[in-house]
Symmetry: C2
Subunit: 219 residues, 2 copies
DNA sequence: AATTATATTTAGGCATCCCTAAATAAATGT
DNA sequence: ACATTTATTTAGGGATGCCTAAATATAATT
């Protein structure tokens, strides 16, 4: 049996190595999980005994095949639940994380797959992050930062790179949602702010904001 | 903060005193939770310190106001999730219990209330048990055992009194569901089995079965 | 290459929640 | 009422998962 804590460690390792390299340090894990490095060392040993990670003292950790499989299942559940909360229960983006963090630990393959079906097999969660499939395949998206595209670009908002709720609330206010179609009408050279068309509105947003929005270019 | 274990104890105490009297013994709790009486004594003391139960050594336990409130919230969540699983995800009766047992511990008032709304404020769960309201009111149903009603009675199936999956599966096979309308066509004096009309079918069921089905008489 | 700084691990402890065995209180039978 | 049975509590211990402080390995600096 795998414990809740162990699941959180696997998830943390996966999420670190999705954004950076394959080998993860004790310190990074401690940072993500808000625990002490000492606790991490301890837990890593337990995970190694269960063959969920590969580990060499002082050299860092990587997920084993079965560890990665488990971690992807948790990530899948997390993102499916987030999708459920936003699409079905009308939660807003900024509220779903903590709840999904709890729901992701519910153990029932049947539940996960029925939920997937109920949601109509979504490929992306409300933050635009890909949802791993039943077999653990995570479709990579080629996304760019909104701040990096040229004038006249059309694209679909795919996600954000921060979870700060002030930021997310601001986006909600602007009506910027995952899947929203936007067009860059103008880029102000002086401060790199952008005039953006969304629906039939035009919004002016700063570089601080465009720097945190990912889009998929469609034209 | 209340722990998962504490929640399970509160829930156990509530469920025992819903079916029997108000004061619950250590042994009964141990029975429900599959733990040793010694562990129960220990935990009860912790719950008393948190003012969640009233307790006198050797005299048994009862829920305090705040303990009852918490227990009702957990029961509410359990029954809402069961309803969700059956009505939305197409689980069958007999499968939902273990999953709901996990989901009931997810902490988010907002989630519970949005789920309630999403399900259209159900009053009864798929087993026919009443769902406590937001303010902890649990609508009592005057139900009778199917085995106790006279011939020609019409009623609605409201629930069952056992969770054995063989029994539940048999009911599914007979197409006996919560809310199903039935009519007693005949009662065989010899073995008290009943001829029952359900939909446009007629089924013959034994006293062992009628003894475990609750109905609400409508005629 | 040696020293200093940083990262990681080990050691020793604490809280939670479980256990068995022994002690004690309450209930029951005669 | 007293002895016996049953219920409950106390005592002592184990696993998990966390902590701080100390020890040790690795990385960085000069």
């Amino acid at each position: 049996m795998i414990t809740l804590s162990e699941e959180n460690y696997l998830k943390a390792i996966l999420s670190i190595n999705l954004e950076t390299k394959n080998i993860v340090s004790t310190n990074e894990i401690a940072g993500v999980l808000n625990t002490s490095p000492a606790s991490v060392s301890e837990m890593i040993k337990k995970l190694e005994e269960k063959n969920l990670v590969n580990y060499e003292k002082y050299k860092g950790v990587s997920l084993s095949k079965s560890g990665e499989k488990l971690a992807l299942e948790i990530l899948r559940k997390h993102r499916l639940w987030e999708t459920f909360l936003v699409n079905k229960l009308e939660f807003s983006w900024s509220e779903v994380h903590d709840v999904a963090e709890q729901l992701e630990h519910v153990k029932s393959k049947k539940l996960t797959n029925k939920l997937d079906h109920f949601l109509n097999y979504p490929k992306f969660d409300p933050h635009g992050e890909p949802i791993p499939s039943k077999n653990g395949i995570i479709s990579p998206t080629k996304r760019v930062l909104l701040s990096e595209v040229p004038i006249k670009t059309k694209g679909i908002i795919m996600g954000v790179s921060t979870d700060e709720s002030e930021f997310l609330d601001y986006l909600t206010q602007l009506n910027f949602k995952i899947g929203s179609k936007i067009k860059i009408l103008d880029i102000i050279l002086f401060d790199k702010s952008m005039k953006i068309q969304i629906g039939d509105k035009i919004e002016q947003i700063s570089e601080e904001v465009t720097n945190n929005i990912h889009i998929k270019i469609i034209e």
